[in-house]
Symmetry: D2
């Protein structure tokens, strides 16, 4: 009963099999190998983007911060939601990689930027010319930190605003697969067809060990990305081991299957919570995370039974009245089982 995050699970067995298969013999290092080339071709195919350039790194923070650094100058604002991962959970990595750009925060429910709020925020930024931080780029997290999903239309509404100001758009897709299967669209529809320039395409949270692809739809930014990746220490020498994970992840639609499973588990969990006396959802369950307020007594019972997850915000206390509502974040992954959920619900109830 571990719902702390989708990164507390291990890797899907197919990923480890992929690594083992890739381990034979000598291969050129630094990405000049057939496994890497195959993965790049496969991602271009999946995204219907024959011109796209694809790079692999091992962490989501690296994927996001490097992406930002190629999309904005140091004096450019990065417009993102107030609760975006790049704002709240990366210890200033975007500021470090961009050499000091400013994240300018946009509001909206369920950690989704509202298009009007984005437009107002951009309009308000950089009006004073040389004295101000300039308008730099937009970053969209899909699925969001609150478990919500932008549809392609939602994305388009934001990128339309960005285009009005000639701003490039990044999508933080650490949970891209969860968003995609929830939206029921194609990878292309969710990204470049909706106006996204660079995608952090997550693998780690959805069943890999440690790999994310950065998909750069406009190839003219690619060489700068390569230099920044190397300079950031993110170019693997035995690159095959990044590529092999991604290869296995994409083979036979594993990535879609694991995401579908995680989303289904979240829906099951969400529905179960909906039937608990006094419980209520605080965000809609659209991907693989459930945000729900539950009576403290329920939390105490679940904790006592060994369930592991975060109160949200996490610095709340289990000490206090039994019937007071405390919010929690409950994340499902490829490894979550229906049995775990049933057991968990039985403790809550």
């Amino acid at each position: 009963m571990n719902f702390a995050s989708d990164n507390t699970s291990g890797a899907h067995p197919a990923i480890l099999e992929g690594l083992t298969a890739a381990n034979e013999g000598h291969l050129h290092s630094y990405g000049d190998d057939p496994i890497t080339e195959g993965v790049q071709a496969k991602i271009r195919e999946i995204f219907e983007a024959p011109e796209a350039r694809v790079y692999l790194v091992a962490t989501g923070t690296a994927a996001n911060a490097l992406s930002c650094a190629v999309l904005t100058d140091p004096w450019g604002a990065i417009f993102c939601h107030r609760n975006a991962h790049i704002e709240e959970d990366e210890c200033g990595a975007p500021e470090f990689y961009t050499n000091g750009s400013k994240l300018v925060l946009v509001d909206g429910p369920d950690a989704k930027m509202d298009a009007d709020a984005l437009a107002r925020t951009i309009a308000h930024t950089g009006r004073g010319g040389i004295h101000n931080v300039q308008r730099g780029m937009v970053s969209i997290t899909n699925s969001t930190e609150a478990g919500a999903v932008y549809s392609p239309e939602d994305v388009k509404a934001l990128t339309d605003v960005a285009r009005r100001y000639h701003l490039p758009v990044h999508m933080d897709g650490a949970r891209f697969a969860n968003a995609l299967v929830a939206a029921g669209c194609t990878p292309a529809e969710m990204t470049w067809k909706a106006g996204v320039d660079v995608l952090s395409f997550g693998g780690t949270k959805n069943g890999c060990m440690a790999v994310e692809a950065v998909v750069i739809f406009d190839p003219k930014r690619a060489w700068e990305f390569e230099l920044r990746r190397k300079r950031g220490g993110h170019l693997f020498s035995k690159h095959r081991f990044l590529a092999a994970q991604m290869q296995a992840y994409l083979a036979d639609d594993l990535w879609l299957k694991t995401a579908r499973h995680a989303n289904e588990m979240a829906r099951k969990l969400s529905e179960g919570i909906g039937q608990i006396e006094g419980a209520k959802l605080i965000h809609p369950t659209q991907a693989n995370a459930v945000f729900a307020a539950l009576p403290r007594g329920a939390h105490k019972r679940a904790n006592a039974a060994g369930a592991y997850y975060y109160l949200w915000p996490f610095d709340q206390s289990l000490e206090g009245p039994e019937d007071e509502l405390l919010a929690a974040r409950l994340v499902c992954s490829w490894a979550t089982t229906p049995e775990e959920i049933d057991a968990f619900l039985s403790h809550l109830a």
Copy 2:
């Protein structure tokens, strides 16, 4: 017959077994797991350094650049050999992570800094007070980029100079194991007992997939390292997979065995080349790399037979007189076999 680098081989089977074993069930992320804790304890034990702090990252460039960033201010010079990896092969990663420190280059044969040259260079730097880059730190690569090895006494001679100027000392040990078994000393003797403050302890080149440990002998620098690692995007979420590699690497002295093997293969190769008409070594073979000048005809035959390695410098041409000497770098690894070497030597001869 691949001698291009010790990163063209795959991972030792024990490493993959370690990964598979570590894949069971849920574990806390970001290093708060028992495998990581075990590895940290094991490294403290191996280095006889109960106070040391140990951090894992996936690349040598990350290990080195983060180490430099905790050891010097942005205005501090990093004294290193002219051919150090941090100077020549990291695309400016140390400059990026330190926010602009200057690498001040020291001479010496076989890519080993000469202690007197180091002393002169440090003395010459920062004499002009506020106008100059200040003296920051010393970085020693062991084994060196030319395949030579510093003994503990050699290291001590350099750190004595550093101490005279109150400068901390980093050791780039991407090939630490190769240096260690060559020197025949203990890990402690090679590092903190010889005056090293922070070690990049390499795993990747010596049989791992992608893992390096940073060993910080003075724990007061540790928290800053943690922040810089996160901010650099180098903190793995599924951290167990870095730790599991290192666990397997250290178990049963695997790291020493693979290094001994690689060094022996290099010695065999070196001796074989010594018997080739017209060939000569251009650096002594002390670790796992051989630097030798060979007649162009020999290179052409080896190439034709499928041998793969770099001319050194690599931009020389195979076109030209058969008997002209061209230098080459030939690197052995845990995966190099005596048969490969015999076959290679037979083509050269």
Copy 3:
């Protein structure tokens, strides 16, 4: 009738006389001269701070950004008001000099941080440990960008919050003199006695040509400041010309007289506006700036008569209904005359 800013005026004649007097003969460069030493001693005396270190730079942005860089690590948050100059008007200079720290914004009326809001914001920041930007420092602008003044008690209320979290405190005193004479306290009471660690002590806006002093009350941060100043290109070679301005500025309390004059002019202007039909103040007039909403017709008349100032926000239009209220910022300086104000008021009325 120029109320655009206190930097549209020239320098007070005494400043130019000071420059001329300082121009004789050879002097050591880079601040090693008796004029600089005299200024440093004088500022220590004025601030009753015999241990303080004093440095001169030519711009307020340099003073602020360098101060921030010595007070916080790159991963530290700078807590400041949402409308602080360092947030809105320096094109990201603090982010550049700190190598990417994040400005975390605090609310409060009249561009004054509310102490409770500061406490909440600090408490909310950095709770997630390594994943978050850490708590770095607090920066207080006095007088504020809305023309309000923090009393020593107001400052103390903020620094008490900062101390609770062991955070150092910077004061942006580009208009320090205006705040001081408004508060009717001593320089020491407004700064170190109220918990301020580093002060940007403005000269330019209050009658100098281009000089600001950075007063570092804790001398252990001084050498780092010197290095950052040089490295930022802010160390003047003919340093006497910064010092001579500051010498003249401080002599015979010129700085207090010019500030008192500017504040009195603002009060006169504010009172005059208060008597205009339909006008109203949008911030209290406590220092040398007046923020007032006036009927568009009044603005049009003043503009037609040659008055120069900014609508606030500046991107409003003079086109539209005559009686609609438009806000304006009107700044007085040492050079503002009562006659100008009378003339201006007569056009508005």
Copy 4:
């Protein structure tokens, strides 16, 4: 008898008169004023460069570091002479402003880069692709730190090498006027006609108080320069006071007259030293600095008589044998008088 530097003198009286004249009334701030516009037009005229963009800053380090930052990416090497001011005397300002580029050092006598050495150094840099720092830009100091002068042909020889690699070229002209009058050519011939893209055009050392112009011959780099200047804290609010200095400096060819005078004084000094028993020049005297080796006894006499200058390197000692030769740097400026020189020579002899 002060020959320590051309920055130990004050400002030429005309500069202070210019400041005083500029002090009347209100003017727009931040460079949007007629004095600034006049100076920009005048510099375009002097350089026969109607498209050039001209920006003023207060220090040579700011001019150089900002210029480098617009000419190279962070991962680009700056090729410059081993003794260039940007390498030796700016505390790493270029590294700071560029966010970590590497200065790659070129040899040549008299602190002049040799074109062949430059070509070899560039060819050697960045050969390893992504692993290496890339080729970024070339920076030429004229006159050099050793008092030598590049002719337009010398400059052309270097920029031809740069062009072969598509590298932009910066000229550090802190002593541009001295070089120009020595070479006897036009400003255009020394700069853009010889292949220079951006010039730091010095005023401070040649008679101003504190002003340097950055002349950007290719206007497409201008907006980035403006943003970097602001972000670096180098945009003056009362900008007229930078412009007024430059206006007076350029009026009636004052800048050429002061440079000619300084060069003549250096020649007189150089010739006088040439007649001293045992003395010898260690660099040719081509601009306003003399580098000469003199018997220690001569130095002791001059010091005793109150002469002030630097031994070169400065950390030599006056203690020791009277007849041992010690080198010195002796710099003349607009303020140096023939009488000073005669007196100095009489003490040496």
